[in-house]
Symmetry: C2
Subunit: 263 residues, 2 copies
Protein backbone atom coordinates (compact mmCIF):
# COMPACT_ATOMS: atom_id res chain seq x y z
CA UNK A 1 0.00 0.00 0.00
CA UNK A 2 1.37 3.38 -1.01
CA UNK A 3 -0.24 5.59 1.60
CA UNK A 4 -0.44 9.33 1.06
CA UNK A 5 -1.57 12.10 3.41
CA UNK A 6 -2.64 15.66 2.76
CA UNK A 7 -2.09 18.51 5.21
CA UNK A 8 -4.10 21.67 4.53
CA UNK A 9 -2.81 24.76 6.29
CA UNK A 10 -4.77 27.97 6.86
CA UNK A 11 -7.01 29.63 9.43
CA UNK A 12 -9.53 30.42 6.67
CA UNK A 13 -10.31 26.68 6.50
CA UNK A 14 -10.80 26.38 10.27
CA UNK A 15 -13.14 29.37 10.56
CA UNK A 16 -15.28 28.02 7.73
CA UNK A 17 -14.53 30.88 5.35
CA UNK A 18 -13.04 28.71 2.62
CA UNK A 19 -14.16 25.27 1.43
CA UNK A 20 -11.17 22.94 1.16
CA UNK A 21 -11.39 22.21 -2.56
CA UNK A 22 -7.58 21.91 -2.73
CA UNK A 23 -7.60 18.75 -0.62
CA UNK A 24 -10.33 17.19 -2.81
CA UNK A 25 -8.43 18.02 -6.00
CA UNK A 26 -5.17 16.56 -4.68
CA UNK A 27 -6.93 13.50 -3.21
CA UNK A 28 -8.46 12.79 -6.62
CA UNK A 29 -5.10 13.19 -8.36
CA UNK A 30 -3.33 10.90 -5.86
CA UNK A 31 -6.09 8.28 -6.11
CA UNK A 32 -5.88 8.24 -9.91
CA UNK A 33 -2.10 7.84 -9.59
CA UNK A 34 -2.74 4.68 -7.54
CA UNK A 35 -1.98 6.11 -4.07
CA UNK A 36 -4.15 5.33 -1.06
CA UNK A 37 -5.05 8.65 0.59
CA UNK A 38 -5.19 7.69 4.25
CA UNK A 39 -5.82 10.99 5.98
CA UNK A 40 -6.45 14.67 5.32
CA UNK A 41 -5.59 17.03 8.18
CA UNK A 42 -6.37 20.73 8.36
CA UNK A 43 -4.49 22.94 10.81
CA UNK A 44 -4.18 26.69 11.29
CA UNK A 45 -1.27 29.06 10.70
CA UNK A 46 0.50 28.03 13.91
CA UNK A 47 4.01 26.58 13.74
CA UNK A 48 3.46 23.97 16.49
CA UNK A 49 0.23 22.73 14.89
CA UNK A 50 1.85 22.38 11.46
CA UNK A 51 4.88 20.65 13.02
CA UNK A 52 2.76 18.13 14.88
CA UNK A 53 0.61 17.38 11.82
CA UNK A 54 3.77 16.80 9.76
CA UNK A 55 5.41 14.58 12.38
CA UNK A 56 2.23 12.55 12.84
CA UNK A 57 1.95 11.90 9.10
CA UNK A 58 5.63 10.89 8.96
CA UNK A 59 5.18 8.56 11.94
CA UNK A 60 2.24 6.87 10.17
CA UNK A 61 4.75 6.04 7.42
CA UNK A 62 3.03 7.89 4.60
CA UNK A 63 5.02 7.51 1.36
CA UNK A 64 3.90 10.94 0.23
CA UNK A 65 2.78 13.97 2.22
CA UNK A 66 1.39 16.93 0.34
CA UNK A 67 0.81 20.20 2.16
CA UNK A 68 -0.98 23.25 0.80
CA UNK A 69 -0.96 26.82 2.04
CA UNK A 70 1.38 28.97 4.08
CA UNK A 71 4.15 29.57 1.52
CA UNK A 72 3.49 33.25 0.80
CA UNK A 73 5.12 36.47 2.00
CA UNK A 74 2.91 37.40 4.98
CA UNK A 75 3.53 36.96 8.71
CA UNK A 76 1.27 33.94 8.92
CA UNK A 77 2.86 31.97 6.08
CA UNK A 78 4.72 29.49 8.26
CA UNK A 79 4.74 26.18 6.42
CA UNK A 80 8.36 26.24 5.26
CA UNK A 81 9.69 27.14 8.69
CA UNK A 82 7.46 24.48 10.31
CA UNK A 83 8.74 21.92 7.83
CA UNK A 84 12.32 22.71 8.87
CA UNK A 85 11.38 22.38 12.55
CA UNK A 86 9.52 19.09 11.94
CA UNK A 87 12.51 17.61 10.10
CA UNK A 88 15.04 19.13 12.51
CA UNK A 89 16.89 20.83 9.65
CA UNK A 90 18.19 24.38 9.41
CA UNK A 91 15.81 26.83 7.67
CA UNK A 92 18.01 28.51 5.10
CA UNK A 93 17.86 30.58 1.94
CA UNK A 94 17.77 28.20 -1.00
CA UNK A 95 19.70 29.97 -3.74
CA UNK A 96 17.88 28.26 -6.59
CA UNK A 97 14.58 29.37 -5.02
CA UNK A 98 15.96 32.87 -4.45
CA UNK A 99 16.82 33.08 -8.14
CA UNK A 100 13.23 32.11 -9.03
CA UNK A 101 11.73 34.71 -6.67
CA UNK A 102 14.21 37.39 -7.79
CA UNK A 103 13.40 36.88 -11.47
CA UNK A 104 9.65 37.11 -10.81
CA UNK A 105 9.97 40.46 -9.03
CA UNK A 106 12.61 41.72 -11.46
CA UNK A 107 10.05 41.33 -14.27
CA UNK A 108 7.57 43.40 -12.24
CA UNK A 109 10.19 46.06 -11.67
CA UNK A 110 10.35 45.27 -7.95
CA UNK A 111 13.33 44.57 -5.73
CA UNK A 112 13.80 41.89 -3.11
CA UNK A 113 12.53 42.72 0.40
CA UNK A 114 12.74 40.57 3.55
CA UNK A 115 9.12 39.43 3.00
CA UNK A 116 9.98 38.37 -0.57
CA UNK A 117 13.26 36.67 0.39
CA UNK A 118 11.28 34.66 2.97
CA UNK A 119 9.61 32.77 0.10
CA UNK A 120 13.06 31.38 -0.82
CA UNK A 121 13.79 30.07 2.68
CA UNK A 122 13.46 26.30 2.92
CA UNK A 123 14.68 23.39 5.04
CA UNK A 124 18.26 22.50 4.08
CA UNK A 125 18.30 19.91 1.31
CA UNK A 126 15.01 21.01 -0.30
CA UNK A 127 14.39 21.14 -4.03
CA UNK A 128 12.38 24.23 -5.00
CA UNK A 129 9.53 23.65 -7.47
CA UNK A 130 9.01 26.49 -9.98
CA UNK A 131 5.70 28.35 -9.68
CA UNK A 132 4.63 29.29 -13.22
CA UNK A 133 1.59 31.27 -12.01
CA UNK A 134 2.64 33.02 -8.78
CA UNK A 135 5.81 33.84 -6.93
CA UNK A 136 6.30 31.37 -4.05
CA UNK A 137 8.10 28.21 -5.23
CA UNK A 138 6.90 24.82 -3.97
CA UNK A 139 9.17 22.67 -1.81
CA UNK A 140 10.13 19.03 -2.29
CA UNK A 141 12.15 17.23 0.36
CA UNK A 142 12.76 13.60 1.26
CA UNK A 143 12.68 12.33 4.84
CA UNK A 144 13.79 8.70 4.95
CA UNK A 145 11.19 6.85 2.83
CA UNK A 146 8.74 9.75 2.78
CA UNK A 147 8.48 12.39 0.08
CA UNK A 148 7.17 15.70 1.41
CA UNK A 149 5.85 18.27 -1.02
CA UNK A 150 4.66 21.73 0.01
CA UNK A 151 2.50 23.69 -2.40
CA UNK A 152 0.92 27.17 -2.20
CA UNK A 153 -2.72 27.51 -1.12
CA UNK A 154 -3.84 29.57 -4.12
CA UNK A 155 -5.61 26.87 -6.20
CA UNK A 156 -4.30 28.01 -9.61
CA UNK A 157 -0.69 28.01 -8.35
CA UNK A 158 -1.09 24.71 -6.48
CA UNK A 159 -2.53 22.97 -9.55
CA UNK A 160 0.14 24.33 -11.90
CA UNK A 161 3.04 23.17 -9.71
CA UNK A 162 1.35 19.82 -9.14
CA UNK A 163 0.83 19.16 -12.85
CA UNK A 164 4.22 20.48 -13.97
CA UNK A 165 6.52 19.20 -11.23
CA UNK A 166 4.78 16.85 -8.79
CA UNK A 167 2.82 14.51 -11.06
CA UNK A 168 5.92 13.40 -13.04
CA UNK A 169 7.77 12.58 -9.79
CA UNK A 170 4.81 10.66 -8.33
CA UNK A 171 4.28 8.70 -11.57
CA UNK A 172 7.87 7.58 -11.25
CA UNK A 173 7.83 6.47 -7.61
CA UNK A 174 4.15 5.54 -7.68
CA UNK A 175 2.50 2.21 -6.97
CA UNK A 176 1.71 1.68 -10.71
CA UNK A 177 -1.88 0.79 -9.87
CA UNK A 178 -4.87 1.77 -11.97
CA UNK A 179 -8.02 3.09 -10.33
CA UNK A 180 -11.41 2.58 -11.93
CA UNK A 181 -14.95 3.48 -10.88
CA UNK A 182 -18.59 3.25 -11.90
CA UNK A 183 -21.74 4.88 -10.56
CA UNK A 184 -25.14 3.19 -10.55
CA UNK A 185 -28.17 5.12 -9.33
CA UNK A 186 -31.01 3.11 -7.82
CA UNK A 187 -34.38 4.78 -7.30
CA UNK A 188 -37.18 3.40 -5.18
CA UNK A 189 -35.23 1.17 -2.76
CA UNK A 190 -34.28 2.50 0.73
CA UNK A 191 -30.56 2.36 1.57
CA UNK A 192 -31.26 0.06 4.51
CA UNK A 193 -32.90 -2.47 2.15
CA UNK A 194 -29.94 -2.31 -0.26
CA UNK A 195 -27.42 -2.75 2.57
CA UNK A 196 -27.59 -6.60 2.73
CA UNK A 197 -27.25 -6.74 -1.09
CA UNK A 198 -24.04 -4.70 -0.95
CA UNK A 199 -22.69 -7.09 1.71
CA UNK A 200 -23.30 -10.01 -0.65
CA UNK A 201 -21.69 -8.35 -3.67
CA UNK A 202 -18.56 -7.43 -1.72
CA UNK A 203 -18.32 -10.97 -0.36
CA UNK A 204 -18.36 -12.23 -3.97
CA UNK A 205 -15.96 -9.66 -5.41
CA UNK A 206 -13.56 -8.71 -2.64
CA UNK A 207 -11.51 -6.50 -4.96
CA UNK A 208 -14.20 -3.82 -5.19
CA UNK A 209 -15.49 -1.30 -2.70
CA UNK A 210 -19.09 -0.17 -2.93
CA UNK A 211 -20.14 3.01 -1.21
CA UNK A 212 -23.78 4.05 -1.09
CA UNK A 213 -24.69 7.73 -1.10
CA UNK A 214 -28.32 8.56 -0.25
CA UNK A 215 -29.46 11.39 -2.51
CA UNK A 216 -33.18 11.38 -1.87
CA UNK A 217 -35.23 10.66 1.24
CA UNK A 218 -34.90 7.16 2.76
CA UNK A 219 -38.61 6.72 3.22
CA UNK A 220 -40.61 8.70 0.72
CA UNK A 221 -38.43 8.85 -2.38
CA UNK A 222 -35.23 6.91 -1.92
CA UNK A 223 -32.47 7.65 -4.45
CA UNK A 224 -29.23 5.79 -3.79
CA UNK A 225 -26.06 6.48 -5.73
CA UNK A 226 -23.84 3.40 -5.61
CA UNK A 227 -20.19 4.19 -6.31
CA UNK A 228 -18.16 1.09 -7.18
CA UNK A 229 -14.37 1.46 -7.15
CA UNK A 230 -11.46 -0.89 -7.71
CA UNK A 231 -7.71 -0.80 -8.31
CA UNK A 232 -5.73 -3.22 -10.45
CA UNK A 233 -2.30 -3.73 -11.97
CA UNK A 234 -3.75 -2.38 -15.18
CA UNK A 235 -6.99 -0.71 -16.27
CA UNK A 236 -8.41 -3.96 -17.71
CA UNK A 237 -8.06 -5.71 -14.36
CA UNK A 238 -9.66 -2.82 -12.41
CA UNK A 239 -12.52 -2.60 -14.92
CA UNK A 240 -13.02 -6.38 -14.86
CA UNK A 241 -13.70 -6.37 -11.11
CA UNK A 242 -16.07 -3.45 -11.42
CA UNK A 243 -18.09 -5.04 -14.21
CA UNK A 244 -18.22 -8.34 -12.32
CA UNK A 245 -19.51 -6.60 -9.17
CA UNK A 246 -21.91 -4.48 -11.16
CA UNK A 247 -23.41 -7.57 -12.87
CA UNK A 248 -23.92 -9.39 -9.57
CA UNK A 249 -25.38 -6.26 -7.99
CA UNK A 250 -27.96 -5.73 -10.73
CA UNK A 251 -28.87 -9.43 -10.76
CA UNK A 252 -29.48 -9.43 -6.99
CA UNK A 253 -31.52 -6.22 -7.11
CA UNK A 254 -33.75 -7.70 -9.85
CA UNK A 255 -34.21 -10.88 -7.82
CA UNK A 256 -34.98 -9.22 -4.50
CA UNK A 257 -37.04 -6.14 -5.39
CA UNK A 258 -40.00 -5.44 -7.59
CA UNK A 259 -40.41 -1.68 -7.94
CA UNK A 260 -37.24 0.28 -8.71
CA UNK A 261 -35.46 2.22 -11.42
CA UNK A 262 -31.80 1.95 -12.34
CA UNK A 263 -29.83 4.70 -14.05
CA UNK B 1 -9.79 28.89 24.77
CA UNK B 2 -12.68 26.60 23.90
CA UNK B 3 -11.07 24.37 21.31
CA UNK B 4 -13.21 22.32 18.97
CA UNK B 5 -12.24 19.66 16.47
CA UNK B 6 -14.09 18.18 13.51
CA UNK B 7 -13.62 14.61 12.30
CA UNK B 8 -14.99 13.86 8.83
CA UNK B 9 -15.47 10.19 8.07
CA UNK B 10 -15.84 8.66 4.61
CA UNK B 11 -13.77 7.12 1.83
CA UNK B 12 -15.53 9.39 -0.68
CA UNK B 13 -13.66 12.34 0.87
CA UNK B 14 -10.27 10.57 0.66
CA UNK B 15 -10.64 9.53 -2.99
CA UNK B 16 -11.57 13.08 -3.95
CA UNK B 17 -15.12 12.22 -5.01
CA UNK B 18 -16.82 14.54 -2.54
CA UNK B 19 -15.80 18.06 -1.46
CA UNK B 20 -15.93 18.33 2.34
CA UNK B 21 -18.53 21.08 2.57
CA UNK B 22 -19.83 19.58 5.85
CA UNK B 23 -16.60 20.47 7.67
CA UNK B 24 -16.73 24.05 6.37
CA UNK B 25 -20.36 24.47 7.42
CA UNK B 26 -19.69 23.11 10.92
CA UNK B 27 -16.45 25.12 11.27
CA UNK B 28 -18.36 28.29 10.45
CA UNK B 29 -21.12 27.47 12.94
CA UNK B 30 -18.60 26.68 15.72
CA UNK B 31 -16.64 29.86 14.99
CA UNK B 32 -19.77 32.00 15.18
CA UNK B 33 -20.61 30.29 18.48
CA UNK B 34 -17.22 31.48 19.80
CA UNK B 35 -15.34 28.17 19.60
CA UNK B 36 -11.79 27.95 18.30
CA UNK B 37 -11.72 25.22 15.64
CA UNK B 38 -8.24 23.80 16.08
CA UNK B 39 -8.18 20.90 13.66
CA UNK B 40 -10.24 19.15 11.00
CA UNK B 41 -9.33 15.53 10.32
CA UNK B 42 -10.67 13.34 7.54
CA UNK B 43 -10.34 9.57 7.78
CA UNK B 44 -11.84 6.66 5.83
CA UNK B 45 -14.42 4.06 6.82
CA UNK B 46 -11.93 2.02 8.86
CA UNK B 47 -12.57 1.44 12.56
CA UNK B 48 -8.91 1.81 13.64
CA UNK B 49 -8.54 5.08 11.74
CA UNK B 50 -11.71 6.55 13.26
CA UNK B 51 -10.67 5.36 16.73
CA UNK B 52 -7.22 6.93 16.47
CA UNK B 53 -8.63 10.22 15.14
CA UNK B 54 -11.10 10.33 18.07
CA UNK B 55 -8.48 9.48 20.69
CA UNK B 56 -6.06 12.07 19.28
CA UNK B 57 -8.71 14.81 19.44
CA UNK B 58 -9.59 13.81 23.01
CA UNK B 59 -5.90 13.83 24.00
CA UNK B 60 -5.55 17.38 22.59
CA UNK B 61 -8.24 18.32 25.11
CA UNK B 62 -10.83 19.55 22.65
CA UNK B 63 -13.95 20.76 24.48
CA UNK B 64 -16.13 19.68 21.58
CA UNK B 65 -15.57 17.04 18.90
CA UNK B 66 -18.04 16.84 16.05
CA UNK B 67 -17.90 13.90 13.67
CA UNK B 68 -19.83 13.53 10.43
CA UNK B 69 -20.51 10.42 8.38
CA UNK B 70 -20.68 6.71 9.02
CA UNK B 71 -23.99 6.49 10.91
CA UNK B 72 -26.08 4.78 8.23
CA UNK B 73 -27.20 1.17 7.69
CA UNK B 74 -24.45 -0.12 5.34
CA UNK B 75 -21.41 -2.31 6.11
CA UNK B 76 -19.04 0.65 6.02
CA UNK B 77 -20.98 2.84 8.48
CA UNK B 78 -18.65 2.34 11.44
CA UNK B 79 -18.60 5.59 13.38
CA UNK B 80 -20.81 4.53 16.27
CA UNK B 81 -18.87 1.30 16.85
CA UNK B 82 -15.55 3.17 16.57
CA UNK B 83 -16.79 5.71 19.12
CA UNK B 84 -17.53 2.87 21.57
CA UNK B 85 -14.05 1.40 21.00
CA UNK B 86 -12.38 4.81 21.39
CA UNK B 87 -14.18 5.44 24.68
CA UNK B 88 -13.80 1.82 25.84
CA UNK B 89 -17.55 1.51 26.36
CA UNK B 90 -19.88 -1.32 25.34
CA UNK B 91 -21.62 -0.79 21.98
CA UNK B 92 -25.26 -1.45 22.79
CA UNK B 93 -28.76 -0.91 21.48
CA UNK B 94 -30.02 2.42 22.77
CA UNK B 95 -33.73 1.94 23.31
CA UNK B 96 -34.63 5.58 22.82
CA UNK B 97 -32.77 5.48 19.50
CA UNK B 98 -34.41 2.19 18.57
CA UNK B 99 -37.80 3.78 19.14
CA UNK B 100 -36.85 6.65 16.78
CA UNK B 101 -35.66 4.27 14.06
CA UNK B 102 -38.67 1.97 14.50
CA UNK B 103 -41.15 4.84 14.14
CA UNK B 104 -39.43 6.07 10.96
CA UNK B 105 -39.69 2.67 9.28
CA UNK B 106 -43.15 2.00 10.66
CA UNK B 107 -44.37 5.11 8.83
CA UNK B 108 -42.86 3.74 5.59
CA UNK B 109 -44.56 0.39 6.19
CA UNK B 110 -41.21 -1.31 6.79
CA UNK B 111 -40.09 -3.56 9.62
CA UNK B 112 -36.86 -3.53 11.58
CA UNK B 113 -33.97 -5.52 10.05
CA UNK B 114 -30.46 -6.04 11.50
CA UNK B 115 -29.13 -3.25 9.21
CA UNK B 116 -31.82 -0.89 10.53
CA UNK B 117 -31.36 -1.88 14.18
CA UNK B 118 -27.63 -1.11 13.74
CA UNK B 119 -28.51 2.61 13.48
CA UNK B 120 -29.78 2.42 17.09
CA UNK B 121 -26.55 0.92 18.45
CA UNK B 122 -24.48 3.45 20.39
CA UNK B 123 -21.78 3.54 23.07
CA UNK B 124 -23.35 2.98 26.50
CA UNK B 125 -24.40 6.30 28.04
CA UNK B 126 -25.12 8.06 24.74
CA UNK B 127 -27.99 10.46 24.16
CA UNK B 128 -29.58 9.92 20.73
CA UNK B 129 -30.32 13.10 18.74
CA UNK B 130 -33.53 12.92 16.66
CA UNK B 131 -33.03 13.11 12.88
CA UNK B 132 -35.99 15.03 11.46
CA UNK B 133 -34.91 14.47 7.84
CA UNK B 134 -33.47 10.94 7.66
CA UNK B 135 -33.44 7.79 9.76
CA UNK B 136 -30.10 7.52 11.62
CA UNK B 137 -30.16 9.46 14.92
CA UNK B 138 -27.14 11.53 15.90
CA UNK B 139 -25.14 10.63 19.02
CA UNK B 140 -24.13 12.85 21.93
CA UNK B 141 -21.81 11.55 24.62
CA UNK B 142 -19.55 13.12 27.23
CA UNK B 143 -16.01 11.91 27.89
CA UNK B 144 -14.59 13.72 30.91
CA UNK B 145 -14.54 17.42 29.89
CA UNK B 146 -15.13 16.68 26.21
CA UNK B 147 -18.49 16.65 24.45
CA UNK B 148 -18.53 14.30 21.47
CA UNK B 149 -21.28 14.64 18.89
CA UNK B 150 -21.67 12.31 15.91
CA UNK B 151 -23.83 13.45 13.00
CA UNK B 152 -24.78 11.78 9.69
CA UNK B 153 -22.81 12.66 6.55
CA UNK B 154 -25.85 13.57 4.43
CA UNK B 155 -25.65 17.40 4.56
CA UNK B 156 -29.39 18.00 4.95
CA UNK B 157 -29.61 15.57 7.89
CA UNK B 158 -26.40 16.85 9.48
CA UNK B 159 -27.58 20.47 9.32
CA UNK B 160 -31.05 19.67 10.68
CA UNK B 161 -29.69 17.79 13.73
CA UNK B 162 -27.08 20.48 14.31
CA UNK B 163 -29.61 23.32 14.26
CA UNK B 164 -32.30 21.50 16.25
CA UNK B 165 -30.25 19.68 18.88
CA UNK B 166 -26.55 20.63 18.85
CA UNK B 167 -26.62 24.41 18.61
CA UNK B 168 -28.76 24.83 21.76
CA UNK B 169 -26.36 22.61 23.76
CA UNK B 170 -23.25 24.43 22.48
CA UNK B 171 -24.79 27.84 23.18
CA UNK B 172 -25.21 26.69 26.73
CA UNK B 173 -21.71 25.33 27.37
CA UNK B 174 -20.07 27.74 24.91
CA UNK B 175 -17.37 30.33 25.53
CA UNK B 176 -19.88 33.20 25.16
CA UNK B 177 -17.58 35.00 22.78
CA UNK B 178 -18.73 36.99 19.78
CA UNK B 179 -16.96 36.64 16.45
CA UNK B 180 -16.86 39.52 13.98
CA UNK B 181 -15.23 39.98 10.58
CA UNK B 182 -14.70 42.44 7.76
CA UNK B 183 -13.31 42.08 4.25
CA UNK B 184 -11.34 44.80 2.47
CA UNK B 185 -10.23 44.24 -1.12
CA UNK B 186 -7.09 46.02 -2.26
CA UNK B 187 -6.31 46.18 -5.96
CA UNK B 188 -2.96 47.20 -7.45
CA UNK B 189 -0.62 46.34 -4.55
CA UNK B 190 1.25 42.99 -4.55
CA UNK B 191 0.74 40.82 -1.45
CA UNK B 192 4.46 40.97 -0.67
CA UNK B 193 4.28 44.79 -0.53
CA UNK B 194 1.25 44.69 1.77
CA UNK B 195 2.91 42.13 4.08
CA UNK B 196 4.92 44.68 6.18
CA UNK B 197 1.77 46.84 6.54
CA UNK B 198 -0.17 43.89 7.97
CA UNK B 199 2.66 43.26 10.45
CA UNK B 200 2.32 46.86 11.65
CA UNK B 201 -1.47 46.77 11.99
CA UNK B 202 -1.38 43.56 14.00
CA UNK B 203 1.33 44.98 16.26
CA UNK B 204 -1.00 47.92 16.97
CA UNK B 205 -4.20 45.93 17.42
CA UNK B 206 -3.22 42.56 18.82
CA UNK B 207 -6.85 41.48 19.22
CA UNK B 208 -7.40 41.12 15.46
CA UNK B 209 -6.14 38.62 12.95
CA UNK B 210 -5.63 39.71 9.36
CA UNK B 211 -5.36 37.10 6.65
CA UNK B 212 -4.51 38.08 3.10
CA UNK B 213 -5.96 36.06 0.23
CA UNK B 214 -4.43 36.74 -3.21
CA UNK B 215 -7.23 36.70 -5.77
CA UNK B 216 -5.45 38.07 -8.84
CA UNK B 217 -1.85 37.70 -10.07
CA UNK B 218 0.90 39.01 -7.76
CA UNK B 219 2.76 40.79 -10.56
CA UNK B 220 0.47 41.88 -13.33
CA UNK B 221 -2.87 42.56 -11.63
CA UNK B 222 -2.66 42.05 -7.89
CA UNK B 223 -6.00 41.74 -6.07
CA UNK B 224 -5.68 41.06 -2.36
CA UNK B 225 -8.66 40.23 -0.18
CA UNK B 226 -7.88 41.16 3.42
CA UNK B 227 -10.05 39.32 5.91
CA UNK B 228 -9.99 40.90 9.37
CA UNK B 229 -11.43 38.85 12.23
CA UNK B 230 -11.77 39.36 15.97
CA UNK B 231 -13.55 37.90 18.96
CA UNK B 232 -14.84 39.80 21.96
CA UNK B 233 -16.98 39.40 25.05
CA UNK B 234 -19.74 41.06 23.08
CA UNK B 235 -20.32 42.12 19.48
CA UNK B 236 -19.47 45.78 20.21
CA UNK B 237 -16.03 44.82 21.52
CA UNK B 238 -15.27 42.55 18.56
CA UNK B 239 -16.44 45.20 16.09
CA UNK B 240 -14.44 47.91 17.87
CA UNK B 241 -11.15 46.03 17.33
CA UNK B 242 -12.00 45.40 13.71
CA UNK B 243 -12.81 49.04 12.99
CA UNK B 244 -9.66 50.18 14.80
CA UNK B 245 -7.49 47.81 12.75
CA UNK B 246 -9.30 48.68 9.57
CA UNK B 247 -8.71 52.44 10.12
CA UNK B 248 -4.99 51.96 10.78
CA UNK B 249 -4.69 49.66 7.78
CA UNK B 250 -6.30 52.13 5.36
CA UNK B 251 -4.25 55.02 6.76
CA UNK B 252 -0.99 53.11 6.28
CA UNK B 253 -1.92 52.02 2.76
CA UNK B 254 -2.69 55.63 1.79
CA UNK B 255 0.64 56.77 3.28
CA UNK B 256 2.82 54.10 1.69
CA UNK B 257 1.32 53.55 -1.77
CA UNK B 258 0.21 55.75 -4.60
CA UNK B 259 -1.72 53.66 -7.11
CA UNK B 260 -4.35 51.35 -5.68
CA UNK B 261 -8.08 50.80 -5.36
CA UNK B 262 -9.95 49.81 -2.24
CA UNK B 263 -13.31 48.04 -2.24
Amino acid sequence: MYNAEIISIGNELLIGKTVNTNATWIARKLTLLGFNVKRIVTVGDIIEDIVSALRESISREAKVIITTGGLGPTFDDKTSEALAVALRKPWVINFEALQMVKEKYYKMGLKLTPHRVKMAKMPEGSRPLPNSIGTAPGILIKEKECLIISLPGVPKEMKAIFKEHVEPVLKNIGPHLCFSEKTITVKGIPESSLAPVLDLVMKNVSKVYIKSHPRGAEGVKPVIELHITSSGKNMEEAKYYIEKASDILLKLIREKFQKFQIE
